[in-house]
Symmetry: D2
């Protein structure tokens, strides 16, 4: 199975177990990260941008001051794949346990 | 008049004349920028982030691959002020005439 | 005294007491930060860039993979001022105690 | 031949022909880029950082205000390889003809 294959309901449920702060919303992996201020939120986005470009898999994300909201899906597959789960894990690791909370 | 004072309808109409690509949507200054690829879109966001932090006036913005969508308003004033008009002008200049188109 | 006034030897000695990891080298405040990898080093530089632009006081810095080397001085004053000490403190705070070590 | 194989003198001379602004200095590909201001220099570095991370080939570079100085070599190979030539071409394209001059 390619990492770009659509996950089944069951695979997705399994994947969400280990993904702190993420849920499925509108058919995408969704999480909000809240940081101390804009500088910390932006530093997070800069780290994620490197990882996303290297994976050639880019998030749909928005930012207002210290909040970063992310939706992940795989356009070609028409839904959530292991690529999205991988990027979600990377984003959790890059956010750091001390700074980010999910709102 | 402070730069954080709400613009009147007439002032806003005047300000929009010189602001290529921007419109008022949901009470905010709104524009979509489209770049060649994620690298160019991200480079734009990096330049804007510096300017926004230095102005202490931050955009509400979202990004999907090569598209950056921006909404500007001044939270304290409850609407659009000269600060937003200033940041919109800065963003147009930073986007560069050759790369960005409004969608 | 302006923050752009050259520090005396004694003021500089006092300032260095609280500045973990920094020393005077070639008439500039000097420190090397080492991170886990390029992504973490770059995230640090992105945070510092925002702060430096907002202060309108920019570092002389270099990067090789996970290492960031910084030299701070105030060009107009011809040496080290409180602006440099301020930026050095900000950089220490932005590096975070867990990631950075001075080499 | 792998892209990580050391270039011969002749291959290197050939590669330099098409590389505007670059020269060999201390066994590395060397170029200085000068931009309008820090914001433009930083936007360039942000674009290059994405490309470098995706190539898993990182520059040795320094920045002072609007100047970015770059040295490229391939550590494992002990000198200049096609990876460095590729990254140099990417950096020239990312700098844009209108902003950068070599000093």
């Amino acid at each position: 199975m390619s990492r770009r294959t659509l996950l089944t309901e069951e695979e997705l449920r399994g994947a969400l177990h280990g993904l702190d702060g993420w849920e499925v919303r509108n058919g995408k992996l969704h999480r909000t990260f809240v940081f101390r201020d804009f500088v910390e939120a932006w530093g997070f986005m800069c780290r994620v941008a490197l990882v996303a470009e290297a994976m050639n898999h880019h998030p749909e994300w928005s930012n207002v001051y210290r909040t970063v909201t992310v939706d992940l899906s795989t356009h070609d597959a028409g839904g959530i794949t292991m690529l999205d789960v991988d990027l979600a894990h990377r984003m959790n690791a890059l956010a750091g346990s001390e700074h980010a909370t999910h709102a």
